[in-house]
Structure formats: C-alpha cells, structure tokens
C-alpha cells in the first residue's frame, strides 16, 4: 500500500511541481512572443518582456513582470533597489462590463507613491526629485473601466529571491485575488533541485496513516545536533505536513523571507551584494543538523531590529501523510546578542520556546495557511527551573510537545481551523 502511494506521489514530483511553478508559466511564455510592440503599445518604458507572468480569472487577465536591480537602473536611471524600492510592472485587462478597482495595497501594504520614489531616489538633498519620470511610469489609476486595459509600475519594497505578491482587483461581487510568485533575476534557483531531490531514494519514502505518523514523529530526534552529530541543540518542536509548494506559499504569505541556506552557500554572496541597504532581512542563518545534514530550508522573519528575528529551519523526512511530505523543524526567536566561546557572538534566543512555537501557529493561521493542527510528544519536557541548553549554551524550557501543522493549500480562515486531539495516538516516546 505504501509503495503504491509512493509511486502515485513521489517526493520528486512535489519538487518538480515547485520548480515548474518557479519557472515562467506556459501563459507567460506564450505572451513573450508577442513582444513589446503589440502588448505595450503606448507604454514609454516596457518591462523586461521575456519574463512576463500572466494569470487569467473570469473577466480579468493580469500580467506582471519584476525587473532586476540592474534592469531597474536601466529603466529609471537610478539604483532603486538600494533604496528598498522594487518596481513591479502590472497590467490589468478588464474584459467584463463592470467597473473594477485595482488595489496595489495587495501587492505591498506600504507601496510607494511615484513622488515618494522620486524623493527617495535623489542622489542628494539638493537634487530636485524627478517626479514626472516616476509619475509617467507609475500606475496612477486604480479604476479599471469595463473593457479596458490599465498598466504601469507599482513601487513596492524589495524582495529578493522570489518576489511573492498578490494582485487584488475588487468590484461588485467576488474580488479577484491572484497570487504571483516571480523569481527575481540575478539569483540562481537551480540549487533547489540539486539540494533536495538527492536526499531520499524511492526506497526510503513511505506513506503513513495517523497512528503511525504520530508514532514516527515521536521517534524522530528530539533536537538538532552540531555538525559532528555529538551535541544536542534546540528542540525540534515543529512538524509540517504539506507539499513543497504549500510550504512555500504559506511562509511567503505570512511574510517570512528566504535565507541563503535554502539554495546553498554560493547564493549568499549574490544576495548580499545585490542588497546592501536591506541586507539584514536576508542575512544567513547558521547550520544545524538533523539526519546528518544541515537544514533543507531556512526562513526568517525580521522584526523591529537586527537583533530581533525569528528563525526557522526545516528538514524533509522520508514520511508522507495523505500523499504530502512530512517536515520536521525548529524555530527560535532572537531577543538579543550575546557572546559565546564557540562563535564569538550569537543571538540570544527566547528560552520560552513554546511561546515561539505558538507564535508561529498564529502567524500562519492569520495568513490563512493552517487547515489543522495538533500536538505530539517527542521533545521531552524541561521545566522553567530545570532548563536544557542549546548548542550555544542558551537555556530553554518546554512542555516537550511538537506542534503538527497541516499547511492549507487554499486560504483557510481561523474559524475553519480543525484542532486535532492526537493524544490517543501518543506513545510517550522521546526522540534521541
């Protein structure tokens, strides 16, 4: 049975799905051939047309493109990325009879107006802002009249790696909410294929039912290890069930940033040099080890200062549940910096790791990306007065539970989340 399911849904397929999804869509390719002359007639500055992404729904067709830092410089004559400004070219075609409004706030709730961009793009205070230049190219109309096309740039904040955004168009009736995940040129994404697809052979992967899932999860290692596999570190208190794509969507929607470790260390340099002004959002995370390897993916969410950040690392397991990959992970919340003998400086983590775990549940739930959750054991409890230590000597205390989050494939409101009682399946085992 397990083998049948395995053949039906090999892990590689999930990975392929993501890769296919990260490439230009077929629709985008089709549009490419039309070139700028037809599609952008009348536009003074076309977007990078070889990377158009098109999505259609009902009466609406939306096309977007995200110019790289270099391309942006060519289009606007200024390095906008360094000012944390990333133009996104958007075209909305309304084929229906209703008036619609494009709401750029869906793309970025703090998007910049043309004049804000002009103000920020100045080389010095005495330089007059080139308002007209940005106003001409910027998308300045929200109203999309029936049977009309509106296009222009929306000035968003910079996202590196993959630019994930929603284009929302509202009118009478059901709003159009279309997600785009656009790779930003200049960053290589092929590492993804190399890194993950080699992890397990088909003989390693197996489908498990609920009881076996809980049993297997409780047997998984309690904690991360150092490279030598000797010392135990932070507790592995997260489990996700979801395809690569669902995982990606969920964290992007909740505002988490990728880190370079997703793609391997070579990308770090690219990201760091491309960014500068906003580098800390993507700064690297150190490697921790499970299954004798460092994390398969790392995400982070910057908070108010460089010293305050949430870090999350995940490892894909050879388990599948209902055809979806099972992931194990670790989360920590930086609350400051301190000195250690091993690494000189490191981030001080909140010792209340359960608090951080529950924060993550809420963060994903409000992004409407959780369909179910429950708890299993496996970590082993450590009380406030008898804390355990992680690899950098920080103490932590925990109730010893792992949260199991079923990542939603469709937006799910907090009213719809199922809370599963997994206690009947719990074995009391604590992972090594």
């Amino acid at each position: 049975m397990a083998m049948t399911n395995l053949r039906a849904m090999p892990l590689a397929l999930c990975i392929f799905a993501l890769l296919a999804f990260l490439q230009a869509t077929p629709a985008a390719t089709a549009e490419t051939g039309r070139g700028e002359r037809e599609l952008f007639k009348g536009q003074s500055v076309p977007p990078p047309n070889d990377r158009l992404h098109t999505n259609s729904e009902r009466d609406l067709t939306i096309t977007t493109a995200v110019p790289s830092a270099e391309e942006t410089k060519t289009i606007f004559g200024k390095n906008l990325y360094i000012r944390n400004i990333q133009p996104v070219w958007v075209q909305v075609e309304n084929k229906g009879d209703e008036s619609l409004f494009l709401t750029p706030m869906g793309l970025d709730p703090a998007y910049y107006t043309a004049r804000e961009v002009a103000q920020r793009a100045r080389s010095n205070d005495s330089e007059a802002p080139a308002n007209a230049s940005y106003e001409q190219r910027g998308l300045d109309r929200l109203h999309v009249a029936p049977r009309s096309v509106v296009s222009g740039y929306v000035f968003s904040r910079v996202d590196e790696g993959t630019k994930s955004f929603n284009i929302d168009v509202v009118g009478n009736g059901k709003p159009y909410m279309i997600s785009f995940f656009v790779p930003v040129p200049g960053l290589k994404i092929d590492h993804y294929r190399v890194e993950i697809s080699k992890l397990y052979g088909p003989e390693d992967i197996r489908e498990v039912g609920m009881a076996e899932l809980v049993e297997e999860l409780e047997k998984l290692p309690c904690c991360v290890r150092d490279k030598a596999g000797k010392d135990k570190g932070d507790p592995l208190n997260l489990v996700f069930i979801g395809s690569v794509r669902d995982m990606y969507y969920a964290f992007m929607r909740a505002g988490w940033d990728e880190t370079e470790t997703i793609y391997g260390a070579s990308l770090l340099k690219t990201a760091a040099s491309a960014l500068m002004g906003d580098a800390y959002r993507y700064s690297p995370v150190s490697s921790l080890y499970v299954f004798d390897r460092s994390q398969d993916a790392a995400m982070q969410r910057a908070r108010t200062s460089i010293h305050e950040r949430n870090h999350l690392r995940v490892w894909i397991t050879p388990l599948l549940h209902e055809g979806k990959p099972v992931w194990i992970g670790q989360i920590s919340r930086d609350i400051g910096v301190h000195f250690t003998w091993r690494t000189i400086t490191t981030h001080k983590i909140d010792p209340d790791v359960d608090e951080t775990r529950e924060f993550l549940l809420e963060d994903l739930a409000y992004a409407q990306m959780v369909s179910k959750f429950g708890y299993v054991g496996g970590v082993g409890p450590a009380g406030y007065d008898a804390p355990r230590g992680n690899l950098t000597g920080d103490p932590y205390f925990t109730d010893g539970q792992r949260i199991v989050i079923w990542v939603a494939s469709e937006p799910t409101s907090i009213k719809e989340i199922e809370v599963l009682d997994l206690s009947p399946f719990q074995t009391g085992a604590i992972g090594n």
Binding site: T113, R120, N172, I414
Partner: protein
C-alpha cells in the same frame, strides 16, 4: 604616578559598574494594581474577556521599568472560558508585533545583577497571559504590545475547534486627550438644520454648489486644501473603522497638525484629525474630518481633507519643496480607500465630482502656501461597524459617473 591614576580610574569604574549591576528588581503586585479598576469587560457566547491598560506611570510603577520609553505598552487581559472545550487565546490578534514576556525582561537586563535579572525574568514569565484556557477556568496576564499614542484600540481573538470569538476594545489612556473628545457632536446642529438624503441624493448634494469645496482660513478670505473625502458612518462605525485601519488620533496641541487646525468649515476647525504613518519613512497621510449636517438614511456624513505630509516637527520642512510629495493629494485619497477596504471596513465606495481639478503643471495654492494638484474627484466611503469581507463591499456611483469625471479616458 600615571599607573596609580589608571588603577584609580579603573577601580572607580569597577565600583560604578558593580553598583549598577547590583540593583535589585522590585516589581509591584499585579493583582493589586490600581489601573485594574478601569477594566472594561465584554462577553461573546461562553467567553468573558476583561481588559485594562496601564498608562506610562502605572507601567513604571508595576514593572519598575519605563516600558513606554521603549515603545512597549502592556495590556492586561483576563479570560473566562465557560465553554466545554479548550479556548486558545491569540496574542497575535492583539498585535502581530507583540513582545514575548522574557524578551521584555531581557531587553531591560543591563542595570541588574544576575540574581536580580533572574527574578525579573521569572516575574515577566509568570505574569504573562497564558494561551490555553481550559473549560470552566479563568486565566489572566499581561501581553506586551507596541505603543500606540492615544486611545488603545485593539482586537482580540480566541479560537477553539472550528470556532472563533472576536472582540474589539477601546481603552482610554490617562494623559492623552484626543481632539474629538471635547466636541459635543450631539449639539453641533439643531434638528431643523439636519438634511436627510439617500445614497443617490448624496451624490447630487456633493456635486452641487451647496456642498463646500474647501475649508477657509479663520478670516474666511483664503482657501485650504479641498474636501476630497466624504465618509458615511455613525460615530461607532467611524471609530472602529479608523482603528481597524490603524489611523492614529491627535491632540489639539499636536504641532504637526498646526495647519490643518487653522482651517475652518462651518465656522470651526476640524472635529478630529487622524493620521497614518509609514513604518519605513517619515511620510504620513493626514485626515481632518468635520461632521456635516447631512444624513444618508439616518447615518451622519463627515466631510474631510486627505493630504500627504512629512512627519516632521519642523513644519517648514514640509514646504521647502512645494512640488514634492505633499502636493499630491490624490494618492493619499487612493491610499485611504484601500486602507478601509483591506481593513474590512468598507460597506460601499464610490467617486463623485465636486472639486475643481488642478493639473500637475498648474497646481493651486492654499492660504498657508502649500501647492497641490488633483483630478477633482471626491472619494465617498460608507463605513461599517462590523467587519465586511472585501468581496462584500459595494461600488456605488457607477461607471457612468466614472466616465463623466474622467472624460472617458480612465
């Protein structure tokens, strides 16, 4: 000799450091805190929630720390779960950027000895609000939010198995009096001056010569920025909508509202001025509102100005570059529309005419010297007390009007 001096200085420094680091931690008893007497209570189904917010001095008295100075504002919450299942509190719903208790302690560790810090950390941990409230039980504790000036307004969600309970609180904070508090709205207009109309009638009214296009200066001989927004909402709906969209209140003496307060409509300054700030910049959108004598199906109409400014106390800085950001009054209008829409407050929306357009290359000037340009549209929003999903908002004043205003080129 120099060596002795150095050693002396080092000794003094060591003593000083030692004195600092040996400070004991002495919080007050939370259960006896006086601010709890101001608590507000709400019930939804089997869940009873009580909240109270300490002011700056009260926070200092409670925690021994000036948390307001660090932009941290504690909220005390008590939840009674009279249902038959576990209720799960969502700290995130109050403030997605809340601080966990131990982080607050850690941020303030410096003056304390190791032992003192240890007792401080424990106090913060033990007085934090737990997340899980078992059936039939009550839990209370503090949640550390980011400081907001003025009335503390926040949502609070509790979810259990496929069910959610949503609360909204407005808690006045001692020491901050928002401008609208002193306005007696009920006596602004005698009943014979009130004008009743309907949705279609409001458009006619706003586009007629009866509707004021601009406020003036106090002498009545200079024009202010155009009245480019009309809001239809009762006071509660307006307040809730402003909270959901994170508009901030202002006080009468807020220097950044100086020019807005010089403007007069129906012989008075704005009844309330609110603003939205950029998190990553110093720009802000300001909205001055006046209650009008008009009512749409019994709901009051507010006329207002949406303008763009720079959050800079040096007012003059805003006007050094008259063709800069502040000249654009249409973008703040677009921004405001979306903010109400995304925060689920928009019952209906539309645009009407009623303002003389001023093109970018021929900007108009106000009595206080600010130049602006506009396409001449007036935004009309109907706000709701209860959250409205984005798909449920209605577009009123349809496309014929859009064409008429924009000459069909929009």
């Amino acid at each position: 000799m120099i060596g002795i001096l150095h050693r002396g200085v080092a000794l003094v420094l060591l003593l000083a450091l030692g004195a600092c680091a040996s400070k004991p931690y002495s919080p007050s008893d939370l259960s006896a805190a006086s601010f709890l007497q101001r608590s507000l209570q709400q019930q939804s189904g089997p869940i009873l929630v009580e909240v109270a917010v300490p002011g700056r001095a009260e926070t200092k008295a409670l925690t021994g720390l000036d948390l307001y100075k660090q932009d941290i504002q504690p909220i005390w919450v008590k939840v009674t779960n009279n249902s038959k299942v576990m209720a799960r509190v969502s700290h995130w719903s109050i403030d997605r950027h809340y601080y966990p208790p131990i982080e607050v302690a850690y941020m303030n560790r410096k003056p304390y000895s190791k032992e003192a810090y240890s007792s401080m950390e424990r106090w913060f941990y033990e007085t934090g609000l737990p997340r899980r409230i078992p059936p039939g039980e009550t839990r209370a504790g503090l949640v550390y939010t980011t400081l907001t000036p003025g009335t503390k307004g926040f949502n609070f969600d509790i979810f259990s198995a496929q069910k959610a309970y949503n609360f909204t609180f407005f808690v006045p904070i001692p020491g901050f009096t928002p401008d609208y508090i002193d306005v007696d709205f009920d006596s602004l207009y005698p009943s014979e001056e009130l004008v009743s109309t309907d949705v279609a009638g409001l458009q006619k009214l706003l586009e007629s010569s009866t509707a004021p296009m601009y406020p003036t200066n106090a002498q009545g001989d200079g024009l202010g920025t155009p009245l480019n927004i009309a809001i239809v909402a009762n006071r509660k709906a307006l307040r809730r909508s402003l909270l959901r969209a994170r508009w901030r209140e202002t006080t009468d003496d807020d220097p950044s509202t100086e020019f807005s307060r010089q403007q007069r409509l129906w012989n008075r300054p704005p009844d309330g001025i609110f603003y939205l700030s950029r998190a990553d910049g110093n720009e802000r959108i300001s909205m001055g509102l006046w209650l009008s004598p008009w009512q749409v199906d019994g709901e009051p109409v507010w006329l207002g100005q949406l303008t763009y400014g720079v959050d800079d106390r040096r007012i003059v800085a805003q006007f050094l570059n008259p063709h800069g950001i502040a000249a654009d009054i249409d973008n703040p209008q677009r921004f405001a529309m979306q903010v109400f829409w995304y925060s689920q407050s928009l019952r209906a929306v539309g645009y009407v005419s009623g303002i003389d357009p001023a093109p970018r290359d021929k900007p108009r000037s106000t009595f206080y010297g600010r130049e602006y340009f506009t396409d001449g549209r007036r935004l009309v929003v109907y706000l709701s007390e209860e959250p409205v999903a984005m798909g449920d908002g209605e577009i009123v004043y349809g496309r014929d009007m859009m064409r008429r205003i924009t000459g069909g080129n929009d």
